[in-house]
């Protein structure tokens, strides 16, 4: 990405709906509530917003969701809309598309919103996803269900190659739970010890249930505007300093490696745009569809060398008040709420605003945020700054 775009746009406001098991809430209402809160937070009126990006709505049965949300929020007519679905990479991609649309002169302020309701029963791990013909034909007849099985195979390769253990993966789950306990909006607040992680049943071996997120309802939203519009906002903006993408494979059958992800290249692109390096980062909110995804990103982003994340977790780790760069300070998908990636962004903005109370990282000035979809197939990086 061009360095000319460094800090030219910013996240002006953030919002979150209620999170957890919300029996009587529709997806569209959760999206509306999060959107309203983001607009209020920014102090920007709905009329001023002329672009909307929503998560592609096939899952919710609402077509043209971005347009309908704009209509229900009183933003019509809109000049830019996009329904987007890159799974867990969607939210971070929204930031990038918002910047691109404004840079192209298509709109002046973009609302990005994502969330859902009533998909699964609470307390169950990910269930069978919508499946393609290819999956139905070449995966399901062997009893291969669920994205977790693919992550399990990826983790197995790391374990085989580098000696990584289930217990080391557990340290990620334990740290994220400890963070969630300090976050008023987090859904999973029961304390978790490493022994509890180690005695939790297999989801798909070698991943345990506590290596996986629990389904929850909820939505998040944010508003992106040019720097010039940021002068009289209600809250301090978070500047979009760097952004990048990298997509090494779609399916594991075609992946060169499941022990290195797109984070490496995506991170290099984003840090180059930002003119920064990992040593400038104060807090990181990394995509965590399972614990293993965090472990491999620690290596790919350079927290430690390739193959050494297990030992890194045992020494420095990722926990607040212990780690040099605390990771997933809101609790992540694993313990805050499984709303694809967007709460990683709202948390990063809160940290940069010094608004996190007990879980605030001291003097947080630069935040690293990632999003990933598929089986570490698509990767997005954001570098945000004060």
């Amino acid at each position: 990405m061009s360095e000319k775009l460094r800090s030219k746009y910013c996240i002006a406001g953030i919002g979150e709906s209620e999170l957890g098991q919300l029996d009587r809430q529709s997806a569209i209402n959760l999206n509306l509530i999060a959107s309203k809160r983001a607009l209020d937070d920014a102090g920007i009126s709905a009329k001023e917003v002329d672009g909307v990006i929503a998560m592609s709505s096939s899952r919710e049965g609402i077509s043209l969701l971005s347009l309908r949300l704009g209509e229900l929020l009183g933003m019509m007519p809109l000049s830019f809309i996009l329904d987007l679905d890159l799974e867990g990479a969607t939210a971070a991609a929204m930031v990038q598309h918002a910047v691109m649309a404004m840079e192209a002169g298509m709109c002046r302020a973009v609302l990005c919103v994502l969330g859902g309701a009533g998909k699964m029963k609470a307390g169950e791990p990910h269930d069978i996803n919508e499946i393609s013909q290819e999956e139905e034909e070449f995966y399901v007849p062997y009893g291969m269900f669920d994205i977790t099985a693919r992550y399990a195979m990826a983790a197995r390769r790391h374990m085989h190659r580098y000696g990584t253990t289930s217990r080391q993966l557990g340290l990620i789950a334990v740290a994220e739970r400890a963070h969630a306990r300090l976050n008023p909006i987090a859904t999973m607040k029961e304390p978790m010890t490493i022994d509890e992680h180690q005695s939790s049943p297999w989801a798909v071996e070698p991943l345990r249930l506590l290596d996986c997120p629990f389904q929850s309802d909820g939505a998040g939203a944010f508003v992106v505007v040019p720097k010039a519009r940021a002068k009289d906002l209600k809250c301090p903006p978070a500047f979009i300093m760097g952004m990048g993408q990298s997509h090494p494979h779609r399916e594991i059958l075609d992946s060169a490696s499941l022990t290195t992800t797109g984070a490496k290249v995506s991170g290099e692109i984003a840090f180059r745009m930002a003119g920064l390096s990992l040593s400038d980062v104060d807090v990181a909110e990394l995509s965590d569809p399972v614990t293993y995804a965090v472990l491999v990103q620690l290596e790919d982003y350079g927290f430690c060398k390739k193959g050494e994340a297990g030992a890194f977790l045992e020494s420095e780790g990722i926990e607040l008040n212990k780690a040099k760069i605390p990771v997933n300070t809101h609790g992540g998908l694993l313990s805050c709420a499984d709303v694809p990636g967007i709460l990683h962004i709202t948390e990063a903005v809160k940290q940069l605003r010094n608004g996190c109370g007990e879980r605030q990282v001291a003097e947080a000035e630069v935040a690293l945020v990632s999003g990933s979809g598929g089986v570490m197939s698509t990767h997005m990086t954001l570098v945000l700054g004060k």
Binding site: V140, P141, Y142, A149, V204, E205, L253
Partner: protein
């Protein structure tokens, strides 16, 4: 009403039909680009290396090694309940392509990355044969077929 659960079986496409026909004849066939010779799996319309639409089918040795694997302890589909715990693996064939399969003929904790395996054709229905893999040098008679796991549950 009680009914026997249906096991999910592959429904071939025009591109994949030769593969499943081959399995039915206990032959593991791999799609090969007629133009550049690259092999690919699963079957697809055009060659990712050279974009050619021309393909042919060549027999695989049926031998390979385990690239990675996962063990299912939890029932995701009731038709697989009798198989728990079962191993789903990605096997890399000698010819270089990878496929998702099951490892049969040994206990789940005996399976490891790099283990040499060879194909075992499991005739699961009158018209359908599924290629699974067993440790090399295991006799077919020692392998439990899907049928050997007991009857499908009734619901």
């Amino acid at each position: 009403m009680t009914k026997v659960l249906q096991r999910p079986l592959p429904r071939p496409t025009p591109e994949s039909k030769p593969f499943w026909d081959g399995c039915r004849n206990h032959q593991l066939l791999i799609q090969k680009c007629k133009s550049c010779g690259d092999l690919r799996f699963p079957p697809s319309l055009l060659c990712p290396s050279c974009s050619s639409l021309e393909t042919e089918w060549v027999p695989s040795s049926g031998k390979g090694e385990i690239w990675s694997h996962a063990v299912f302890h939890k029932v995701y589909h009731p038709a697989f309940e009798r198989n728990i715990p079962y191993v789903v693996a990605v096997v890399e064939l000698e010819e270089g392509v990878r496929m998702v399969t099951n490892i049969v003929g040994c206990a789940p904790d005996e399976v490891s990355i790099g283990m040499a395996v060879e194909v075992f054709f499991d005739d699961v229905a009158p018209e359908v044969t599924i290629p699974r893999f067993k440790p090399s040098k295991t006799e077919d008679a020692q392998v439990k077929t899907d049928e050997d796991q007991g009857p499908l549950p009734q619901r």
